[in-house]
């Protein structure tokens, strides 16, 4: 029997690019198939039934049809629009940062429901408190975990000795933390303070609600941010482009006004 021509899926829109006269080529992350690229026919026309539905950072329930080269979005219904997040410039930029990472780490035709759930709960946490950076740190850490790239935090990756309560070294290249006795030649090697190691272990054990209650001083927050974004960028194999605009907004920290 021939496979059905249509199917239903739930997906978060990651990005789109214009295609042809009025179509959109949409990249989305689905719960059951991982990353999918599909065409929204006529979606740029103001009277299209898809207009407004395919904006990035929208959780959709969709009917799709198998196409010759790419699938076609035939119908869509918004499940969660994260509208509060989209009323804030910092919130939008943080959401797009997540979308860029999921686009980079998510594989086509390979379901990763943990990553799907992680993205939704992180978007909800950003919506609750757009100014806090903890949802991003939680996301970066668990992104590594659900992608099979979890750094070692309890034993030295070289000598396998249990880590003492002290400062250590860290490198994504060797897979995590090293004791101070082990010093392999590695361009990515950096110091890891005991406080930062404790926060990483806490991120490992806690859920996002507990992680967002953490209050870090500026130097600890900067250390974690640098460590996690460098690690994520290392595994992605390229620079995270939305990071530079996010940095710029953080440095400005002006009051937000929505028009």
């Amino acid at each position: 029997m021939a496979p059905p021509r249509t199917y239903r899926c739930e997906a978060i829109i990651l990005s789109y690019t214009p295609l042809g006269e009025a179509d959109l080529l949409v990249t989305m992350f689905t719960r059951d198939q991982g990353k999918v690229r599909a065409v929204g026919k006529g979606a740029r026309r103001s009277t299209s039934k898809l207009v407004g539905h395919l904006e990035p950072l929208t959780l959709m329930r969709m009917s799709m049809a198998h196409g010759r080269n790419m699938d076609i979005i035939s119908q869509g219904e918004v499940v969660q629009s994260f509208s509060k997040l989209k009323e804030d410039l910092t919130g939008i930029t943080k959401g797009l940062y997540l979308a860029e990472l999921v686009n980079g780490f998510g594989a086509e035709d390979s379901a990763n429901p943990e990553l799907y759930r992680l993205m939704i709960e992180t978007l909800l946490a950003i919506e609750t408190d757009p100014e806090s950076d903890m949802p991003l740190r939680f996301f970066e850490f668990h992104l590594l975990q659900v992608s099979g790239l979890m750094p070692e935090l309890y034993h030295c990756v070289e000598c396998r000795a249990e880590l003492e309560p002290d400062a250590h070294r860290f490198s994504p290249n060797v897979g995590g933390t090293l004791c101070l006795d082990c010093n392999p030649e590695d361009a990515h090697l950096r110091l890891l303070s005991l406080r930062a190691l404790k926060v990483l272990r806490l991120l490992d054990r806690s859920d996002i609600a507990a992680a967002c209650k953490l209050s870090l001083d500026d130097s600890l927050a900067a250390e974690l941010k640098s460590l996690l974004s460098t690690t994520v960028s290392y595994w992605l194999g390229k620079e995270i482009r939305s990071n530079s605009f996010l940095e710029r907004l953080n440095n400005e920290s002006l009051p937000e006004v929505y028009i």
Binding site: S15, L19, G20, E21, S46, T47, K49, V51, G52, H53, E55, P56, L57, V78, S81, S83, K86, D88, L89, I92, T93, L96, Y97, A99, E100, N103, R241, S242, S244, F245, L246, R248, E252, L254, E256, V257, Y258, I259
Partner: protein
Amino acid sequence: MSRLVQELNRLPGIGPKSAQRLAYYIIRLPDEEAYALADAVTSVKQNIVFCEECQNLTDASPCQVCSDPRRDRTIICVVEDPLDVLAMERTRTFRGLYHVLHGVISPINGVGPDQLKLRELFSRLNQPDIAEMVVATNPTLEGEATAMYIRRHQGRDDLKVTHLARGLPVGGSLEYTDETTLTRAFQGRQEI
């Protein structure tokens, strides 16, 4: 022949097959029509410049709109692209001036404020006779982010900053309208 196909293939929306079809069409054109096409491409690259005021593409700076004394110089409409100016002009409703950004802030594509004509906009806003700025970026996520950035950085307390109304398109349908648009349409309801 293959060079022409290669060059046509670079154009947006033109795949390899379409590029071949266009190339064959150009070869079959009478000489004068083919040279006219080549001349149009050459002259557009040689003669088109950014208007020194609104940054729109023009063959003479300042452009026709900016040099028209009948335009209202107290109001500036900020748009993403030159095509948006044409769309606005077709309405014959807006009689003020424009400012073309040539894109929107797109963090995911590495496009930041420095790649847009924002410095020129903020410099124009220093003119005290400008009383209102209409931010007419598209109601997309990146268009909204750009509008918020402009609002944040425009630097004048006495400037009225507005954006175009959000709501239902003429010929649209409530049933198929997304919740954000419908909410905005409801918030902006008008007495009839």
